[in-house]
Amino acid sequence: MCETCGCSVPDQNHPTPADTHTVEVLRGLMDANDHAAGHNREHFNRTGTLVINLMSSPGSGKTQLLEHTARLVKDRINIAVIEGDLETENDAERLRKQGVRAHQIATGSACHLDAHLVHRALHDFPLEVDGQITDILFIENVGNLVCPAAFDLGQHVNVVLLSTTEGDDKPAKYPVMFRAADLVVISKSDLLPYMDDFKVERAEQALRGLGVETPVLRTAAGRQEDIASWIEWLDGQLTKHRQQQQVA
């Protein structure tokens, strides 16, 4: 108990000067970000757009998966992409080549996207163009398995990619990121025959070790393509999202 002001805080530094007092705050450090994320969600829900935040290590195949996805579904699903990278417009350019609307955020020195950056992007990059509504907005986060997990962007779903070239113990090494996932995609599965140390079962086991029931599926988005189960999952998410939007 603090002698000077009667506050309930035990403090080694007491006795304190009479003009020093301790105030309880108990507020989340991410409150400002989370508040902006909530506002982003209002934007998304205005057009009924399903928003998917894609996260992984650098080079796990996020952009390539999106390129193949665009090719397969763009005639029946209206998709758009926000790309987050430290530098360059390269990833956005790759998607534009597939005929997809894409917006690049260059974060400069920041190793993650935050809700304010996405919010600014939403005002330059509307989800409704000429009466055409975006069905799915993908946000490709900065390649990084640590920092992006701490920042809610207002997305509805988190997808984390784990490629077969980066080791099946990643979920145990990056528990915060993998706990945040609603779906884990084992990417570059075409390389499994060559990566004899990577066992999908071990990756799944490491994921279960985090106390989550997150589903896992495989994709190959190289010259050999097999992303059927991913497309099926996407269709399921879109259906579920539309039902939820109608109820709300």
Binding site: D11, D19, T20, A32, H35, L210, E213
Partner: protein, 134 residues
């Protein structure tokens, strides 16, 4: 490393609290941190020594209260402590567990200088950063 952004958010809250109470400086800042918050205590402390330079907080110190990871098992109801990458029930081995604590990322309390009356504890009424449009 995102600890610098987290630290800037922390100091914005601290300065808002100090201003709201008419303080002229800040002493000890206490943060409650869980291992599953995604923030490393050491990196946050390091970021703090850079970020505190500015109004009110130049003399401030950071005190981090690390929280344990605690789980409750959905299958057998047992409660136990756990490691960040092994969030299983220690009693029955189930992975169907809920986190009771361990992901905290909170500003717990702030020591204010230059206030003669005991300040009212902060409420949610002040400063919510609102985008300036609808």
């Amino acid at each position: 490393m995102h600890e610098l952004s987290v630290c800037e958010a922390l100091l914005a809250q601290v300065r808002a609290t100090a201003t709201a109470n008419g303080a002229d400086g800040v002493g000890r800042i206490t943060v409650r941190l869980g291992p599953l918050s995604g923030v490393e205590p050491d990196l946050l402390a390091q970021a703090f020594t850079i970020a505190r330079n500015g109004p009110m907080t130049a003399e401030a110190s950071l005190h981090i209260e690390t929280q344990p990871i605690r789980l409750r098992c959905r299958d057998c109801g047992n409660e136990n402590e756990a490691e960040a990458n092994r969030l299983l029930c220690k009693a029955c081995g189930s992975y169907r567990t809920d986190l009771i604590s361990g992901d905290e990322l909170l500003l717990a309390r702030v020591e204010l200088h230059g206030v003669s009356r005991h300040p009212t504890n902060s409420t949610d009424s002040e400063q919510q950063e609102r985008p300036d449009h609808v």
